[in-house]
Amino acid sequence: MDHFPTNWGRPRNDAYDSYGTYPIPHRPYNGPKDAFGEGVQRTQQPIVTGTSVLAIKYKDGIMMAADNLASYGSLARFKDVQRLTAVGEFTVIGASGDMSDFQYIQSMLDDKMVEEFTSQDGHALGPAEIHEYLSFIMYGRRTKMDPLWNSFLVGGFKEGQRFLAYVDLLGTTYSASAMATGYGAHIALPLLRTAVEGKENLLTEEQAQKILEECMKVLFYRDARSLNKYQIATITAAGPSISESRELATSWSFAEGIRGYGAQTQ
């Protein structure tokens, strides 16, 4: 996938904005105008964006990780943003893509949870229902040609069943035992798959955490829109819990040995 969120859903155009210095600079424009042009706002572009989310199945449930950065183009704009959020008693959602769209969806999900609670019908929305609802919202908005510019991972645990699934701005959905959005789908997912596939029922919480930490580290080394501050969420029979922010211990000593990487004289 194209890593730059501004390019999502668009044809490539290398001649324009080749450095990805989005958002697109707006210049004064005095040419002919469509009087009704602003009446209908259709497509947009992501402005403040979050990068990859990772998630895996393990013995006791689902574990998810995302860093705390919200970028403004290539600027690391907000460095204390929560991209993992609990929805109800059984579910955590991890968001990448546009952060304002994410917040809009959070408030929409809050409303939905309140609505469901007030009906007092003895049913609570589980991860499968929340994912289905979210996919309807996303698919509905893409069909209106007014997408919510995100990729989400929905993880949960209810009635002894683990749940992990994906939904994005096109309404595409799927499920697997190791998943990643954005850059993570290219860099971290192969590592996650080798570590997790076939061992979903064996991995302990400690092992799962170690796998995710390792992948977050690899992503921090290679994804220019990532941060070494991240959170981990677990969803088990005990319900969802989202950790405090933690730092990645990284080492840069290897750079010394590489010409053009560290400070060297030729």
Binding site: M1, G9, R10, P11, N13, D14, A15, Y16, D17, S18, I24, P25, R27, Y29, G31, R42, T43, Q45, S135, Y139, R142, T143, M145, P147, Y166, L170, G171, T172, T173, Y174, S175, A176, A185, H186, L189
Partner: protein
Amino acid sequence: MVAVPDMDSLVNPQQRQFNPYTENGGTILAIAGADFTVIAGDTRQSEGYSIQTRYAPKVFRLTDKAVLAVNGFAADGNMFVKKVKQRLEWYRHAHAKDMPLRAIARLIQTMLYARRFFPFYVYNILGGIEDDGTGAVYSFDPVGSYERETCRAAGAAQSLVQPFLDNQIYFKNQLAAPGMSHPTHLPLPDVLSIVIDSFTSATERHIEVGDGLEMYVVLAKGRGLGGMEAIGGVQELSERTEGERLFVVRRELKKD
């Protein structure tokens, strides 16, 4: 040389259109027998060079005698199946029976053509048992053109599989032995081996095909299992054994 955007493209409004479609790979295939139908699809879902998941079903049970395979843009496909299932449920409530296969086929055409100017980017293949007890395959294009056939492949490896089927199912370019004629319908075990061979071949030569294979088998009323006993890993999906019977057979495909 760095490509510098010209002033025109900066001053004038940028018309960058959101593309509401993508292509999720995979292949589907259906073959009708005299009194059975096989509807199959691989289970890989991909976007570009990335495999999103190794198990995303593309073949769905509609009724005990109708199975729908969808291929193309996965989000549209899932939504379309959901809407067809909903219409079939409404039909059941109104008429206290399952909709006949040829009626489902016409319903699908209507539903696809209703979106003529913003199509579901999906190739549909409907398979099952007709009211007269014959096996049937209906294939559709994304805007609803449809046709009843004996066999059809669609999706990423359509061009690899369809000519193979022409040869093995329709016996195209083959002469029957003197005084003999080609069978109009093949027995179930032969059909299943051809389906498996088609998918292993497609997996070998197409990167978007692989991981797993799901073959749905619909048997006409009172037909008996004839040919199913010898096959391993069969799961029955129909609840009643009196009417049409529905089975699913799963096989692994290469994952590279």
